[in-house]
Symmetry: C2
């Protein structure tokens, strides 16, 4: 049964999901597990025909066949080892020593990107990437109807160094009952900026990056891909909308083709240029209630896992980046895909 505990020194809420590993002794083994040991096609619970190995599906794009059988194109299921669960209540409590905690209320879903076990998202047709984005948005909008959820983090872990545990291409989402501190920080800074200048910080940064050109990787009518000035990791790449939109839920459906085209090209350039790097991808949206505010712009951040954050980064929260984003952008612009 997951719970959240309050870290009084940083005001973070830490998710405890102890059911994921049974005993302290076992975690050592888990940590040592490598992708080589992960189930391949024959045993993969995400492959068509193996639907009974997963919890019943929540959502699917499929061609008329019945739920929980094959015939789907994109399939959404609850995570079998959820970090947070829809059955819990987000009541805030205090234990008898005065430590604060709350129920592990939320949602944790897996979006299986296609029936194909081996093809990375970068190599899928644009229509399939668009189907994934459409599914992500549908789940985002549906879950935000539950007023207990403060924000939804959409993310993808590609490769062992990025923390994936199953090779079949998939994304995940976690809806949280609190606003994560990092979102609070981003939001406070953006609202302060708006108060002081009357402008959206993200729009201003995007305009500056577009004018500077050097860190822009791609642009089309509706979106821009840029390697930000203060990238925290080598080859960090953001995709931002040109129109003001605080929430991923607000992207007009007609824009998803354009977003899919850009996302596929960016992922393909990284795949080819850096030889299929492990990476995390996250969709950063505003918290509940700020969907129509002019302060923030949702964006996709792709974070290749080329370097290992070490003691300095963990102790200080500061990042050390060994590649200038303008050099990384120049390199990626030249990659032909």
């Amino acid at each position: 049964m997951p719970i959240l505990r309050f870290d009084a020194t940083t005001h973070d809420w830490v998710i405890f999901a102890p059911s994921r590993v049974r005993r302290p002794r076992e975690i050592r083994k888990e940590a040592g597990a490598s992708l080589a040991a992960l189930p391949e096609e024959a045993a993969c619970p995400f492959c068509p025909g193996k639907e009974s190995l997963t919890p019943p599906e929540i959502y699917a794009l499929r061609n008329g066949n019945s739920a929980n059988g094959p015939g789907w194109n994109v399939r959404v299921i609850p995570n079998k080892f959820p970090a947070l669960r829809i059955e819990e209540t987000p009541e805030r409590l205090e234990d008898d020593q005065g430590f604060r905690y709350m129920g592990g209320c939320g949602a944790h879903e897996v979006i299986i990107e296609s029936p194909d076990h081996r093809t990375a998202l970068a190599h899928q047709p644009v229509a399939q990437v668009e189907a994934v984005l459409r599914t992500l948005q549908a789940r985002f909008v549906d879950l935000m109807r539950d007023s207990r959820f403060q924000t939804i983090v959409l993310f993808k872990n590609h490769g062992e160094r990025a923390g994936t545990s199953l090779r079949h291409p998939h994304c995940q989402l976690i809806a949280t009952p609190v606003v994560p501190r990092l979102l609070r920080v981003r939001h406070q800074i953006a609202t302060d900026y708006f108060d002081l200048t009357g402008k959206c910080l993200y729009r201003v940064l995007l305009d500056l990056e577009t004018a500077a050109e050097r860190r822009v990787l791609l642009s089309n009518e509706h979106f821009v891909a840029v390697l930000p000035y203060a990238s925290h990791v080598p080859f960090e790449t953001w995709i931002l909308p040109r129109e003001p939109q605080a929430s991923f839920g607000s992207v007009p459906p007609s824009r998803l083709t354009s977003l899919a085209e850009m996302m596929k090209t960016v992922l393909l350039k990284l795949y080819v240029g850096l030889d299929n790097p492990d990476f995390n991808l996250t969709v950063n949206s505003c918290a509940r209630g700020d969907e129509d505010e002019p302060y923030f712009m949702w964006h996709i951040a792709i974070l290749p896992r080329l370097a290992t954050p070490a003691g300095f980064e963990l102790g200080s929260g500061m990042s050390i980046n060994t590649v200038m984003p303008e050099e990384a952008a120049e390199f990626l612009r030249e990659v032909r895909v």
Copy 2:
């Protein structure tokens, strides 16, 4: 030449140290390098007799022999690939597009823990652990005389998953020309708590943990080792002083034996109980100017790298922990060393 760039969306300063890797193309190889490929004793620049392979030493505990030759017990050298350099100035500047940066001013030193290439700190005699702590404190106090440095992060990376790049046991320190945002957060929360209650938050938490007992691993006259209530990672272990001390520089030298004893025992319990896990260790101290404030207590945090933070953690800043600290503490208490 390192620089720091300002992330306008989070107010983080990101360190750019591009000299560490020459070209974007090369980072792929670097990232793939494994410990197996690291130099062993015959080629190790940290072993006695190889002093000429490192930059000239800054400090050493040695038995009368001359600098930069063998005969040392603990040796401190500049990092050959520094994240920050003492030669830069911490001037804050703006480029012609309006992006903010500053010189990569700071210090980055390596503390070689003993002449012995193969013996982990956990297996060193207490006297050697104490010699390392004494050296760390001497460097901390000396560098804090340079008023350009706002804080000093002491850290150790043990094992490949913890980001180490040389097997010979060593710690590092980085002095920074800015107060990292994470320290600002901790400081602000602690001062607010003091304003509201008149008490030190860390002292209160330590008293609560000591009273609760379940998460206490070890205690002696001067220090307590505890697995905090809201641990961010499995087996996270803190060592805190019993006396109020905001800075590691303020620990009375007479206490270092007691600290060394506790640190050795904690590291040995982790080594034996979890089969030599990769870990980071950081010493969290206050920023310049707060050394005598009653708000904060310096502490050591040991963070085993048993799990891989993935897209959710990177996107939200929230942690998912799969092991309850009380279970981890019970497990470690039973480990005989």
